[in-house]
C-alpha cells in the first residue's frame, strides 16, 4: 500500500507525497502523487491512473481528509497522470482540474463536465489553494507538447512531472536521492528517450535555475533536495535528448511518463 509522507509544512500548509506501493502489480509503473494543503483546501497533483486510485485514496485518507481536495493539477495528458479523474469526480463532482489548454478537450474522455476543467494558457498561470498561490510553469515538450510543472515559491518546491523521473531498481526505493551519481544512472535512458526537444530542455533549465528550489519532485522515482537540485539541472542541461541514437535498452523503452 502506498504511503503518504509529509515532506514540507509550515502552519497549516503542507506538501505530502504519496509514493512507493509494494503491493502494486508489476506491470503498472510506480508513480508519485503529491498533495498540497493550505487553509482547509487541498490540491492533488498528478493524481495517477485508475488502477492505483484505491492505493492513493487510502494513503491520503490515512493522513488527511480527502474531502478537502477541491482541485487537481494535471501536468499533462498521460493515463498514469490523470486517468483516475472520473473516480475523483465521483467522490467530489465539484473538483476542478487545472491543465494545459491543449488537453482540455482530450482529458474529458477520462471524465468530467464542461465545468471541471480550468485550461492553462501556454505561458502558465497561478493556481490558488487556500489563499496560497502556486505557479504553473511551462515545460512544453518535456515530454508532452502541452506540459506544466508546479512551483510553490513559498515552500520553494518544484513539482517537475516527468523531468527528474527515474526508474529505480527494487533495492533503491528511497524517497529522496541520497547518492546523485548512483541515482542519475536510472534517469538517463528515460530522459534521453522521453524528453522531446533539446531547445525546450535548455529553455526549462535556464528558467528553473533562476528559481529558488529546495526540492525538485518528479512524478516517478526519488525527490532531489538541496544541492542535488542544481546538480540535476546541470546534468539535464548537458544531456542530449530528443534523439533516438541507438535502439533503446528494454528498460528505457518502457513508458514511464
Amino acid at each position: 500500500m502506498k504511503k503518504a509522507v509529509s515532506i514540507w509544512h509550515e502552519g497549516d500548509a503542507r506538501w505530502i507525497v504519496i509514493a512507493r506501493d509494494p503491493d502494486k502489480p508489476g506491470h503498472v509503473i510506480d508513480t508519485n502523487e503529491y498533495l498540497f494543503s493550505a487553509g482547509g483546501e487541498s490540491l492533488l497533483v498528478d493524481p495517477g491512473g485508475i488502477e492505483i486510485f484505491p492505493a492513493v485514496f487510502a494513503a491520503i485518507s490515512a493522513e488527511c481528509d480527502p474531502g478537502t481536495i477541491r482541485s487537481i493539477f494535471a501536468s499533462h495528458q498521460d493515463p498514469d497522470i490523470i486517468s483516475s479523474l472520473a473516480l475523483w469526480l465521483e467522490f467530489n463532482p465539484a473538483i476542478r482540474c487545472h491543465l494545459s489548454w491543449l488537453w482540455a478537450s482530450f482529458i474529458p474522455h477520462f471524465g468530467g463536465s464542461g465545468e471541471t476543467f480550468v485550461a492553462l494558457p501556454d505561458e502558465g498561470g497561478d493556481v490558488t489553494v487556500g489563499g496560497r498561490s502556486l505557479r504553473a510553469i511551462p515545460a512544453h515538450y518535456l515530454h508532452s507538447s502541452g506540459n506544466f510543472h508546479l512551483y510553490d515559491p513559498h515552500a520553494r518546491v518544484l513539482f517537475s512531472g516527468d523531468v527528474g523521473a527515474a526508474l529505480l531498481p527494487p533495492d533503491q526505493q528511497g524517497l529522496f536521492v541520497e547518492d546523485f551519481d548512483r541515482h542519475i544512472r536510472h534517469a538517463e535512458g528515460f530522459h534521453r528517450r522521453w524528453m522531446g526537444s533539446n531547445a525546450a530542455k535548455l529553455d526549462w533549465c535556464e528558467r528553473v535555475s533562476r528559481l529558488d528550489v529546495d526540492m525538485l519532485m518528479p512524478q516517478h522515482g526519488a525527490i532531489y533536495r538541496g544541492a542535488d537540485v542544481g546538480r540535476f539541472i546541470d546534468w539535464f542541461s548537458q544531456l542530449e535528448v530528443g534523439v533516438l541514437r541507438a535502439p533503446p535498452a528494454a528498460s528505457d523503452s518502457r513508458k514511464a511518463a
Binding site: 486510485f53 484505491p54 485514496f57 485518507s61 474531502g67 473516480l87 465521483e90 467522490f91
Partner: protein, 234 residues
C-alpha cells in the same frame, strides 16, 4: 477482481481486515455493487449483436427495394400478362419501406440500450475501484459510501430504463416479424404470378426467385434478432 465485494475470506487471504459493514450503506453496498456489475458486459455484447443483425436486415431490405424497382420496370415491359406481377412488385417495394421504418426504430432502441449499458459498464468499473479503495482503507468508508450509494441509485434507475427499452425492443421485433411474414407471402405470390408472364415467364420467375431468397434471408435475420433478444430474457 474489479467490481467484486471483498469477502472476509478474500480479505484474510490478502492480509487485510475485511471492510466494516456496520453502517446501513455498507450493508447495502454488496447488493448495490452487484446491481452495478453483474449484467452489463453480456448486455453490451448482446446489444452489439442486435445492432449488427439490424444493419444486415436494413441492407437486405435495400436490396429488395432495388429488385422491386427493376421488377416494376420489367412488368411494364411485359404488359398485360405481368400486371399482377407489377402490382406485387409495388407491394414488395412498400413492404421494404415498412421494414426499413421498423428496423430504424429497432436501431434507435438498440443504440439507446447500448448507451445505457455503456453507462452501466463504466459505472460498474468505477464502483469496483471505489470498493477496492474502501477495502484498502476502512477509514475511507465515510467518504466512499456516499458516492457508492449515489452510483447504486443511478444503477437502479438505469436498470429500470433498460427494462423499458427491452420491452420496446421486444415489441419492435414482433412488429418487424409481422412485416417480414407479409414479405414472405408477397414473395411466394410473386412466384405464382410469374407463371402467368407469358414470354417473360422465365425472367419474371428469376426475379421472383430473387425476392424469395432475399426475403428468406430477412426472415432468418429477424429470427436471429428474436433469439438474441430471447437469450437476454432467459
Amino acid at each position: 477482481m474489479p467490481g467484486a465485494v471483498m469477502s472476509a475470506d478474500t480479505a484474510a487471504e490478502a492480509g487485510r481486515a475485511p471492510p466494516d459493514r456496520s453502517s446501513p450503506v455498507a450493508r447495502m453496498t454488496p447488493t448495490l455493487t452487484k446491481a452495478c456489475t453483474s449484467p452489463p458486459r453480456s448486455e453490451l455484447g448482446r446489444t452489439v449483436r442486435l445492432s449488427e443483425e439490424t444493419r444486415r436486415v436494413i441492407a437486405l431490405a435495400f436490396g429488395v427495394r432495388l429488385m422491386a424497382l427493376n421488377a416494376i420496370i420489367l412488368a411494364r415491359r411485359a404488359g398485360a400478362s405481368a400486371r399482377g406481377f407489377g402490382v406485387l412488385s409495388g407491394e414488395l417495394r412498400r413492404f421494404t419501406g415498412e421494414l426499413e421504418s421498423a428496423m430504424d426504430e429497432l436501431r434507435r432502441l438498440t443504440w439507446s440500450a447500448v448507451a445505457t449499458v455503456t453507462a452501466r459498464v463504466k459505472q460498474a468499473r468505477v464502483a469496483g475501484v471505489l470498493e477496492r479503495a474502501r477495502a484498502a482503507a476502512p477509514q475511507s468508508e465515510r467518504w466512499i459510501d456516499e458516492p457508492l450509494a449515489r452510483m447504486a441509485r443511478a444503477a437502479e434507475s438505469q436498470a429500470a430504463e433498460l427494462r423499458a427499452t427491452e420491452r420496446a425492443l421486444q415489441e419492435a421485433i414482433r412488429d418487424a416479424d409481422r412485416i417480414g411474414l407479409m414479405g414472405g407471402v408477397l414473395a411466394r405470390t410473386a412466384r405464382i404470378e410469374a407463371a402467368y408472364g407469358d414470354v417473360f415467364r422465365v425472367q419474371l420467375t428469376e426475379v421472383a426467385d430473387g425476392f424469395d431468397r432475399a426475403i428468406a434471408s430477412i426472415l432468418a435475420s429477424l429470427q436471429q434478432l428474436e433469439s438474441t433478444e430471447m437469450g437476454a430474457r432467459s
